[in-house]
């Protein structure tokens, strides 16, 4: 699969068109294998931006304006940077919900459901202890959110392991079930009677709200997202547990032969994945909304799937990709105001990127620029 294995000397060169024009200096060949994982997704991203530019040009908008406002809205000013990072926070955490099970070869796409359940559990925890000091409340909210989200995704993992139910479908079905539970609770048992137009739970209280990272308007969820991503990276690539998970993901039979308990691995990894998304839900309540209502289903869980695939399921790569996708989301408002594009244009662009990134999977190991010279 990987190009960096290095073909033996004398192997005929496979000429592949455009690659020949782009042959890089020899020293890049050594890092070619790694560079491939940066250049190909970046190329797919650029191609998607180009396609999206053509798409809006069909509607009579100037693509150059589009790119300018996208940059402005995402990274142009300090204000837009803060908006971008605030959106990146839940994206990092929901992307981990897809990226961690992917190490085991599982495709979990239910991050949105775990986020909603995490948010509900966190809100319940806060409402259950009205008299406790804020720090205690916030810690309880985080724990409740992580346990709720974790169990939610663990259910998908357990169904896969013990009943052979496809985890992709079950996790997506659980999103719709989670949404129904959220709607039921905020319009029924947990409803604050004073919330007339938008049914919501009571507020968790201003004192319990999590503030911003000093000097910014970006809430602490961003920092916790980075910590979670780094811890996930260490867990997957630098611990025996992570190694076992990757063995099981690479070859299930080999993992069983060497005596790994695959079921336990699946359950633990799925729990951690769901806990990450649940934490995202907790921060959406404790740092943004202040209460649970339908606003929580903002699609962060679905955008997180895209982040994970674009980062090639690498927990560290999730961080920059989430910032990038957060930027695209942040620029949506500006595109709406200045260019009159519908708010769904962000969804279209994300969809195009997703499709292009997957289509680019076919290029790995086939571009001659990434091969050792003369090989």
């Amino acid at each position: 699969m990987k190009a960096d294995v290095g073909a033996p000397i004398g192997t005929p060169v496979v000429k592949s068109g455009a690659g020949e024009f782009l042959r890089l200096p020899p020293f890049t060949a050594k890092i070619g294998g790694a560079a491939e994982y940066v250049v190909i997704p970046a190329g797919a991203l650029l191609a998607s931006l180009l396609l999206f530019g053509i798409f809006v040009a069909l509607f009579g908008k100037n693509p150059l304006d589009l790119y300018f406002y996208m940059y402005q809205g995402a990274f142009g000013t300090w204000f837009s940077w803060q908006n971008t990072l605030t959106r990146a926070a839940p994206l990092i955490l929901t992307a981990l919900c897809t990226a961690l099970p992917a190490q085991l070869g599982m495709v979990i796409i239910g991050g949105e459901g775990a986020l909603l359940i995490g948010a509900l559990c966190a809100t319940s925890a806060a409402l259950a202890m009205p008299a406790a000091p804020p720090l205690v409340v916030d810690i309880a909210m985080a724990i409740a959110g992580m346990i709720g989200g974790g169990l939610w995704i663990m259910l998908s993992g357990a169904l896969r392991q013990y009943r052979g139910v496809n985890e992709t479908i079950s996790s997506l079905l659980l999103v719709y079930i989670a949404l129904a539970i959220l709607n039921f609770l905020v319009e029924g048992p947990m409803r604050d009677p004073t919330s007339l137009n938008k049914p919501s739970t009571p507020e968790i209280g201003a004192a319990n709200m999590i503030g911003s990272i000093p000097g910014t308007d970006v809430h602490w969820g961003f920092m916790f997202g980075i910590i979670a991503a780094v811890l996930s990276y260490i867990l997957i690539y630098h611990t025996v547990f992570g190694f076992a998970a990757r063995v099981a993901g690479g070859n299930l039979r080999a993992a069983r032969v060497v005596g790994l308990s695959v079921g336990k691995l699946i359950l633990i990894v799925c729990f951690l994945a769901g806990a990450a998304a649940g934490l995202a839900g907790m921060f959406e309540v404790a740092a943004v909304q202040g209460r649970a209502n339908a606003n929580l289903a903002a699609g962060y869980g679905f955008a997180g799937i895209l982040v994970a695939f674009l980062a090639r399921q690498n927990p560290l790569a999730v961080i920059p990709v989430a910032i990038l996708l957060g930027g695209i989301g942040a620029s949506g408002g500006l595109l709406q105001r200045r260019l009159g594009l519908p708010d769904a244009s962000v969804l279209v662009l994300e969809g195009v990127i997703f499709v292009m990134v997957l289509a680019s999977d076919t290029l790995y190991g086939r571009l001659s620029i990434f091969r050792a010279k003369g090989a």
């Binding site: 769904a344 969804l347 994300e350």
Partner: protein, 309 residues
Amino acid sequence: MADPGNIGLWTVPLAVLGGAVRVSTPFLFVSLGECITERSGRINLGLEGTLVMGAMAGYGISYLTGSPWVGVLAAGVTGAGMGALHAGICGLPRVNDIAVGIALMLFGVGLAFYLGKPLIEPTAPRLPAIDFGWWSDIPQLRAALRINVLFIIGVLLAPVLVWALRTTRWGLIIRTAGESSDAALAMGYSVNFIRLRATMFGGFLAGIGGSFLSLYYPGSWNEGLSSGQGITAVALVIFARWNPMLCLAASLLFGGAAALGPALQSVGYSHGYHLFNAAPYILTLLIMIATCSPKRTLIGAPAELSITR
């Protein structure tokens, strides 16, 4: 009983029955199409996006031309285009069909919302229904027996597909590609081309299923139109063991489950309305739990299918 409309609690089973017929139609079309796609050895998880695109295209074209049937056709063609996109990308080496399906689900929904923005206001002509309840003077029964033509087409299509899969040359080629791509290759057929056509056919039917949503029930275009019918229908194909006739039965069951919430609400029992709305998803999950097994592949599963391997 002086008032024929006053039938008390009988309203609920009648509404569920009528709802089953009405709500099951999109399930039926999507699952029949996906059934053919999966029999060719590929799974298209993007049918949720195809469904929403079909709903948008059908509504838009029906509004522009004034003919709902042209809208249905346009929805089908749009769906076939989405299917071709899926098959075209999956045809590239080392591209995962499940991931492409997820991508196309997000892409289709986004594109439909984008293009459908101007369609929220106008009213398009809707599909006609046939009144099978003319003999009765109970309004609820008459409402339950107003049956859309698309439903009848779908019901007739199911046995036709069973027959086609079993006895025709095309059915055999599709099943060969689904059971062993090597065998299909050895017979001189291009597996990718077979799957392209099977996926386009699946997309065509899913698009029509979408047009039913916007042109008959609920009968308008908005962004909350589909809530997982596409993905539920994909799960339903697994439950139906890749058999079109069982897809029909399963669709009716799911339609009934989905109609339960509105039916109970119509008699004034609105407590837990949202939980009843989750009934089809919970039912899907329970059925998958009951029928799947980790020890063996499912009976009737095409051997090339990535989701059951």
